[in-house]
Amino acid sequence: MREEESSRFLLPFRVTMLSINRWVALGFLAFSSGYGYLAFTYRILPFERFLAMKPNTLPIGLAVAGMVCSIALLLVPEEQSSGSGEENKVLGSDHKYLESPENYEWGKGAGLLILAVIYALSLRQAGFLISTSVFLIFGGLMLGERKFWILVPVSCFASFLVWYLVDEVLTIFMRPWPMIIYQ
């Protein structure tokens, strides 16, 4: 019953290969157009005006090629998922995740990415050692690890080891402690 409910909930998210290809092609068209606009309006310096190749020569060419290619991707009928093809027999196409989303743990995948963003934002304030240890501990917890007596020391030791190798051995500076300590 519970499984059925979750399948029904995920139904609108079932994306066909055709629709995702169209959306991606549309995204490329928008990106190429934006890039082309920036290339066309790029302010060329006075002494660059008479150069055989200007700073925006190649970008304009790339933008035009990008627009042509994305329009072709929009118009040309694409084969349906290649996931069933011979090529992907062993490893499988990643499109399979969209074909049956209820079989996979989307929360964990998305949670991991959100945790990575938090880690990136906290590095400056909290310093390398604390933010990395917290990231590794919460990452493990999110994926189902419950043996704290292993997880916590392993995470702290790994953060320290990487910091020691980079900062102390290779002498590439990496601030270990929170910003507040240095103020």
Partner: protein, 504 residues
Amino acid sequence: MWDQMLLGIQTAFTLQNMFFAALGCFIGTIIGMLPGLGPMSVVAIMIPVSIQIGDPSTTLILLAGVYYGAIFGGSTSSILINAPGEAAVVATSFDGYPMARKGQAGKALTIAAISSFSGGTIGAILLMGFAPVLASFAILFWSAEYFALMLVGLSAVAAFAGKGKVLKALMMTLLGLMLSTVGESSLFNAPRFTLGLLDLQSGIHFVTLAMGLFAVPEAFFLALDVLRGQKGGSKEARDISNLRINLKEAKTIAPVIGRQSIQGFLIGVMPGAGATIASFLGYAVERNLANPEERKEFGQGSIKGLAAPETANNAASTGSFVPLLTLGIPGSGTTAILLGAFIALNLQPGPLLMQDRPEVFWSVIFSMYFGNIILLILNLPLVPYIARLLAIPRTYLIPFVLFFAMAGAYIGQNNATELLLLIGFGVFAIIMRFADYPLPPLLIGFVLGQIFEDNFGRAIRNANGIQFLWERPMTLALVLATLAFVMIPLYRDWRSRRKASSLG
């Protein structure tokens, strides 16, 4: 000459120099495994330490060992966790990582070690025999030829355009080329497409893009799918620490190693081309030469697809010593740093080095043989242990893969914006993988884009037009080779479609 070579052998094979060659290989392998610390950074870090030794031959032998070790170390993270920390090992992950996912990590690492050894050793033999001749050939390469060579490199994307994916591969290459134009360029005076962001002033960094495109999606999919990485292959084949290669496999990769050692070396000899383009081209050439059955395996864990770039990048790394030792011109970023080490040691690489300091010249070359043997001896017994890293429980492995990728972009830059950019690229790559777009062409476009534009610009300025494309014979030959690289897969695709439709 034989006296000089003998002097080189005597210098290279002293106990002290053999120890430092082994130490260099070991340090390089360990540090090179960290994404973000490619051979260039590792050699640069080691220069101040190695100069303390005092003896120029020993210092250069140590640095050459570090260089080879770092290249091999980079391929380990490429194969095991799909995190290529350096452009030259990107192509290694195309088939190396699928092999690891099929449970053949040990075999993949062994093939990588043997290919690296063979490429490096054959490269050293060629270096010894043909260095002076090749040096004079290398300087015939002007901007026009480099531009054409980049075109050949870009044509490698055709190798990733599977059935019905030609347009997708082309779109990704264009996107890579567009991203390569962001920031400052050596050809122009102001940064481009930075959207006013200071962080983009120096452009998008390779490690940020590579980790975002390859490692982040992998961590995401591993978290998403509990069974990922536990499928495919027989039970014996799935023994991750098994490093045995059977006779049939050895026979399959032998011609690949032979061809790619020579091709990679010749590409490495040309200043500016280097190991990256050698590995991409090696992969593309082998895919085109493979029979239809073998071609289907490329990108899915083909041993040929792994051996080709691994051999080529090591042979090219050896080849890049030719212009450095004989002309004093650094052929790659790493050899540019090594040139700094030469100068710091009061040595002037160039035509006179062989005459003035034969013991240094020849001992560096002979230490390459020794270094490659050490790398093999050092790495083969370690393969089962390194491969077992994949047996770490996923609750630890996944956060560590993500951390490893992010640390690569953070080390040396201390810039959190770089990490946000990395995650952004990661999300983009996830969407692209859902839509079945090939990601390697994007990275190839990005890596070759900057060199492509610089050389195109210079060639146009020199010739005041594009007539160099047909007026310079070598440029014309390379352009024709590019056309062949693009047309052959298109023709094969068309022929198979026609066959299918006539059967249907």
